[in-house]
Amino acid sequence: MDFDLTDEQRMLADSIGRLVTDSYGDFEQRKAYRADPRGWSPANWSGYAEMGLLGLPFAEEDGGFGGGPVETMLVFEAFGRGLVVEPYLATVVLGGGLLKRAGTAAQRATLIPEIAGGGLTLAFAHQERQARHDLHDVATTARPDGTGWRLDGAKGVVLHGDTAGRLIVSARTAGARRDREGISLFLLDPATHGVTRRGYATQDGLRAAEVVLDGVLLPADALLGPEGGALPLIEWVVDEAQAAICAEALGAMEVLRDLTVDYLKQRTQFGQAIGNFQALQHRAADMLVATEQARSMAMYAAMMVQESDASARRVALSAAKALVARLADQLGKDAVQLHGGIAMTEEYKAGHYFKRLAILAGLFGDMDHHLRVVVAAGGLPEAA
């Protein structure tokens, strides 16, 4: 049993922390990044590349740094602290996670160095409107067409899909809409004829896109991974994304807790700092309890995402997500309430943390959904 970081991990955490403080320490900077037509900062992206973050989870032989879930946790906790807007989850965790596991040697050799170098971003176009939180619910079809494929369908709320240089699209090569078998992945250039993207801002200040695929013709080698057998891989990568989200929520919760405590110390009312009022003190104390419980669950998620038994892994990640979502929701609401009106304003930071937490809580399945997964499994997996 070991809860210490290695020296390398500690150095990584320090470096990312400094980088995020430099680029996001002044909240006005974030507004400027969002004002870029991309919705994020190419300069920051280059910075991440220089620090090696964009190649972090890829194997060294593919041009990466061989980082694991703990490293990803450290990155996302820092990103959560800064409310970072760059497409790291979309590119490195989701897109990169699929690519590194399903890509052929040729695909990996071409694309991973490009990603690690900052020249290429990815997005994972999977979510469909009817599916809600069910990863196996895919109506988009990929039919054999000559030697290649023809894709038809629509994907929604594709994180950073508007600016991605490549899309990884899930489509059904066999089976019915809700079958677990028959789902395949395709790697495609969004400039391909028949692909329409409509990008938009999201409620938390990031970006996403609707993607329509209308008779998109792809060559045979656009297939990424096993034909019809992509679901376990998708589930694994989405679990990795959940672990990252737990860590990101933790970082955001900690900042929001500290903002709130500072505000309670500074704000005076009825002739004294409102932090003197015991009812507010106790809610601040509950915020500390919540962040510590969230930290434990983010660590649990990072450790359990490596679990070889897929069903145990899925249940553990759902447990982590359910609790982090509940804690993030309560802490976000309490932070706004304890601040009062100021947290309702666009100018002040706190409301943005609250909004990001509200969106993170629902990303890839909300609390109810993930609790149901745990309930259906009869409870948490037994420890090894």
Binding site: R132, R178, G341, A358
Partner: protein, 399 residues
């Protein structure tokens, strides 16, 4: 003891129900129902239709356009108005400055302001809150100094709701700094076009422009704009704030929203079926409905107590209605956001995208998250829920 309305009350309710649904334009009511911001004209249109029927200011003195209703009738009016998603007549006009002028104003002030206020020819803003005061309203710092026939106002107000549309503002100002803080406050009216008044928008986290800061920089206001007596403003403010207990919990509105949430859940696909098929969702919705039912009866009991004139002693009902009402309103916006699911996320910038594009998700879904964000305010404003608990503990439990 009987939950049911009398036949007269049913007839009264049905008349109102029909009127609201047939006369107030549907596009306006749809905006209210979806929780979208209304344009100035929407408020004006709706209030003038109501006023033409005597339905804008029922709580005013009959001489000034009020209705001699029973408490139950007033209750039915508010509930039906909210249930039909009719914009409430502008509160600053009809529940706040109107009754104050009607009760404490001079005859000249009544003649000048009341008809225009009822018809929304004058749009009033409320100048109470100040930065740094918050729940401690009486610590306000904006000053009014007498100078010949005028007062000169200096200071800043904030959280001025819809102040961007206002023609006039009613303010609490400090006219005597030497006495206990509540005793040096006066209630004064100012034309928003007076030189020295400037308005700065506050954009809220839902992206809306609903509130403002209002700055007073050597603003010269005629002394005749003082309402009632000098240094009695705190009494008028208390009168005004206690004026309308019915409606504080917005039960009719929340009922309407929960019914809409239910309808949308039945129409929104989720995996094998619809969101409605999710027992956890329905359990949470059921709790909101049940709690709302209890609160509705609590409110009816307050109404009944008003009728039986047993209501002279202070009671904690406003605080209870405020606490539970705000909690259930917030639950309702949470449920709506949950129905939207992933499509609560898009926030397309219509200006940038082009206004003719269809909505990204279901056409109601983009309003869900902003409404959820916006409604965090209801447990903060009008005396935060913490302040309400202080009031209950101190005033009613004697702690």
């Amino acid at each position: 003891m009987d939950l049911r309305y009398t036949p007269d009350e049913i007839a009264f309710r049905d008349d109102l129900r029909k009127f609201f649904r047939s006369e107030i334009p549907l596009p306006i009511r749809r905006k209210v129902s979806e929780g979208r911001a209304l344009a100035r004209e929407d408020y004006v249109t709706s209030q003038r239709i109501l006023h033409a029927r005597g339905l804008a200011t029922p709580n005013w003195p009959v001489a000034w356009g009020g209705q001699d209703w029973t408490p139950v009738q007033r209750y039915i009016y508010v509930e039906e108005l909210q249930a039909a998603a009719v914009p409430q007549p502008l509160g600053f006009n009809v529940n706040m400055v109107g009754p104050v002028i009607a009760t404490f104003g001079s005859e000249a002030q009544k003649q000048r302001f009341l008809p225009a206020t009822a018809n929304l020819d004058i749009w009033w803003a409320q100048g109470f809150s100040e930065p740094g005061a918050g729940s401690d309203l009486a610590s306000l710092k904006t000053t009014a100094k007498r100078d010949g026939d005028d007062f000169i106002l200096n200071g800043q107000k904030t959280w001025t709701t819809l102040g961007q549309y206002a023609d006039w503002i009613f303010c609490l100002v400090r006219t005597d700094a030497t006495v206990r803080k509540q005793q040096g406050i006066s209630f004064i009216l100012a034309d928003m076009k007076t030189p020295g008044i400037s308005v700065r928008p506050i954009i809220t986290i839902d992206g809306g422009h609903e509130v403002n800061e209002v700055f007073f920089d050597d603003v010269r206001v005629p002394a005749e704009n003082l309402v009632g007596e000098l240094n009695k403003g705190w009494d008028y403010a208390k009168f005004l704030l206690s004026n309308e207990r019915i409606g504080i919990a917005r039960i009719g509105m929340t009922k309407e929203r929960l019914a809409r949430v239910k309808r949308l859940a039945q129409e929104t696909p989720a995996g094998e079926g619809m969101v409605w098929d999710d027992p956890d969702f329905r359990r949470r919705l059921a709790w909101s409905e049940i709690e709302l039912k209890a609160l509705e009866i609590t409110q009816m009991r307050v109404v009944a107590a008003q009728r039986s004139k047993a209501s002279d002693k202070p009671d904690p009902s406003s605080s209870i209605l405020k606490i539970k009402g705000s909690e259930i309103q917030q639950q309702s916006t949470q449920l709506l956001m949950d129905v939207a699911g992933p499509y609560a996320m898009p926030r397309p910038d219509r200006e940038e995208e082009g206004l003719n594009l269809p909505s990204v998700g279901p056409d109601w879904a983009d309003a869900a998250a902003p409404l959820f964000f916006n409604y965090r305010k209801v447990s903060i404003y009008g005396g935060s829920n913490e302040i309400q608990r202080n009031i209950i503990a101190k005033a009613f439990l004697g702690l």
